[in-house]
């Protein structure tokens, strides 16, 4: 077909159609390609299979098949070799609300529903007024929630924070930490990269101080040492102190995550923005931070997840979060059954896992949404 005469190659006529290559995406092909593609791979597959076969059936037996699903403590006592779910069903209200008075729990419910509704709505990209929902959730919602939960206004009776507990307390601490640590972390990161030496010094010292001490020590300091510096007649809520400690601690980590993102933004982006006449804060808000934060979404969510789990440490200053309240319920003599502690801890682990995994999924969703083609 190719004529090769006067030194040039000319393709005369059309090439015939060839059959498409055989599809290689069926289940068998998938197995072959991914699990048995080489000798090493085959051995690894078989070993993994053996481990799964060894571990999964007993776990399923304990958790589901042989587990006690109903009947209260007696049933569990009769069958102590498997999970005791009645322990959870009997106590779930306490796990959720702590010692929040029964008659006032509707207030917690409203806050929870609004929170879940807000998160649900925000997951839809195309929703009208999405920006406003986001803004409402970020600023007025935490304030209104505080008054809803604490009371003292609109004729709501006051519920002291010492009576807050369980999952509700976990959420209060974690969400306040999250909402406070991100903006604070951004400001600290910008300060650490500032051209003003004083600013840089203050931010660096702040970050290194909070990063250098364990959270347990922060919480102890907040609960024991901090009041020593206050005049004796000033009282400062224990929970508030813990929340501030957690938030400052997390903000130091957040600052370093954000700083990593800022460093990844090429100089040309700043120059492009400056040449257009954008002043510093607008340049940061419109050009630099959106790109920097997008890069470090995995790191930010990582910090959120860490913070969420670290809230369990408030146990040591006497606040009963979900883990704390489950742990103290385990000691109830009515439930002194061998399987109850395991069941309690598995339950706590499941709740935390579901929350953290949800955060991970949500962040992946956002990352995909923000992807705008190749970088330049």
């Amino acid at each position: 077909m190719n004529t090769f005469s006067t030194g040039s190659i000319v393709n005369a006529g059309d090439l015939p159609d060839k059959p498409a290559p055989i599809r290689t995406d069926g289940p068998i092909a998938w197995l072959r390609d991914n699990l048995f593609s080489s000798r090493t791979n085959t051995i690894l597959t078989l070993v993994a299979l053996a481990i799964v076969l060894y571990a999964v059936p007993p776990a399923l037996n304990w958790l589901v098949v042989k587990a006690n699903w109903s009947g209260g403590a007696e049933a569990c006592r009769a069958n102590p070799g498997a999970a005791c779910w009645p322990f959870i069903t009997a106590r779930w209200e306490q796990f959720l609300y702590g010692f929040y008075p029964q008659a006032e729990r509707w207030r917690v419910n409203i806050v929870l529903y609004v929170l879940l509704g807000g998160i649900f709505l925000l997951a839809f990209e195309k929703m009208p007024l999405r920006k406003w929902v986001g803004l409402l959730m970020l600023i007025p919602f935490p304030i209104v929630s505080y008054f809803m939960l604490y009371g003292g206004v609109f004729g709501l009776p006051v519920v002291e924070t010492s009576r807050w507990g369980g999952f509700m307390l976990t959420l209060v601490i974690a969400l306040s930490g999250i909402v406070a640590s991100l903006p604070l972390g951004i400001v600290l990161a910008l300060g650490r990269r500032s051209t003003m030496p004083i600013m840089r010094l203050v931010c660096t010292l702040f970050i290194e101080f909070w990063r250098g001490i364990p959270l347990v020590a922060v919480l102890f300091m907040a609960s024991v040492m901090f009041p020593l510096f206050l005049p004796p007649d000033v009282t400062f809520d224990q929970l508030l102190r813990a929340v501030i400690g957690v938030a400052l601690f997390a903000s130091a980590y957040m600052a370093e995550v954000v700083r990593g993102g800022l460093q990844a933004i090429p100089k040309g982006q700043y120059e492009g923005a400056m040449a257009l006449g954008l002043p510093y804060w607008k340049m940061m808000r419109l050009i630099v931070l959106p790109q920097a934060l997008k890069i470090v979404i995995p790191g930010i969510v990582n910090t959120f997840i860490g913070l969420f789990k670290d809230t369990t440490l408030v146990l040591i200053i006497g606040l009963l979060d979900l883990l704390g309240i489950v742990q103290s319920s385990i000691n109830d003599p009515n439930w002194s059954i061998q399987s109850v502690p395991y069941t309690g801890y598995v339950f706590v682990a499941l709740v935390f896992w579901v929350c953290c995994y949800a955060m991970a999924l949500y962040s992946r969703h956002i990352e995909e949404k923000l992807h705008t083609g190749h970088k330049r």
Partner: protein, 261 residues
């Protein structure tokens, strides 16, 4: 280097006597390194100046001093009657009058082409959004890519990106445009589409300072070519005389090198 369709008589475009940029005895150092040495330069309204010179001679630094992307240490720079000092107000005012196009485009990758163009009018000039979009579409049509308005910069070719960058600058309605090697990151077949836009801009009377080695462009539109070496302005002349009859030895050497291939 790509030859630009040369239309005779283009450089005779009207240039007013009014000086818009006045740089007097300006020096700049990077640490101990003296990059710009007593630069004197006057640019009149409507003038189109091409700056060339070997790599590292300070061309970029010079034009970046004009909109304060770099700070000069002595001497003075005056842009359209505004003295360039540490005063942020003056810097902002100058940046509003001076547009800049970079070698690597520096488009904002997280914004669409249209948003790239409307950002500064909306946030710096406080223009209403729909008016800014109208202006942006007008300039995107001028650079012949209105159909790409809703794409992201990462989805465009280099030549298209550079034309967006030009449109983005024009949306601020600048009096002066600075170009820093706008075509040197582009493949040869895209250079022309960018140069064509620049030539059109020159024909409309825009005051332009271009750092470029596109000598065809210089011959077509420039009314002055400046040769820099080692931080100094060595020679400047109108393009005909500059290319045909360079005075300094360094200019001759430079021209023989870049015209050789």
């Amino acid at each position: 280097m790509s030859e630009v369709a040369s239309t005779s008589g283009a450089p005779s475009l009207a240039v007013s006597d009014e000086v818009v940029i006045r740089i007097a005895d300006m020096d700049k150092w990077y640490g101990q390194f003296h990059v710009l040495k007593s630069i004197d330069l006057e640019v009149r309204r409507g003038e189109r100046i091409v700056i060339c010179g070997p790599s590292g001679s300070g061309k970029s630094t010079l034009i970046r001093c004009i909109n304060r992307l770099e700070e000069h240490q002595s001497g003075s720079i005056n842009v359209d009657g505004i003295e360039l000092t540490d005063d942020l107000k003056n810097i902002d005012a100058i940046r509003r009058e001076v547009g800049m196009v970079f070698q690597h485009f520096n488009l904002f990758p997280h914004l669409t082409v249209l948003e790239n163009c409307t950002l500064a009018p909306i946030w710096v000039k406080k223009m209403p959004k729909n008016e800014a979009e109208e202006v942006a579409m007008k300039y995107l049509e001028r650079v012949r890519i209105p159909e790409q308005a809703s794409k992201f910069p990462g989805q465009l070719s280099g030549g298209q990106q550079q034309r967006v960058a030009i449109a983005r600058s024009l949306c601020m309605n600048p009096k002066i445009m600075l170009f820093d090697e706008p075509t040197s990151a582009l493949d040869p077949e895209m250079i022309k589409e960018v140069l064509d836009v620049m030539i059109e801009l020159a024909r409309e009377g825009m005051t332009m300072i271009c750092v470029t080695h596109e000598m065809g462009f210089a011959k077509t539109v420039a009314n002055r070519v400046i040769f820099m070496d080692a931080g100094q302005i060595i020679e400047q002349n109108e393009p005909g005389a500059f290319f045909d009859n360079p005075q300094s030895e360094r200019t001759q050497l430079f021209l023989s090198q870049i015209l050789a291939h």
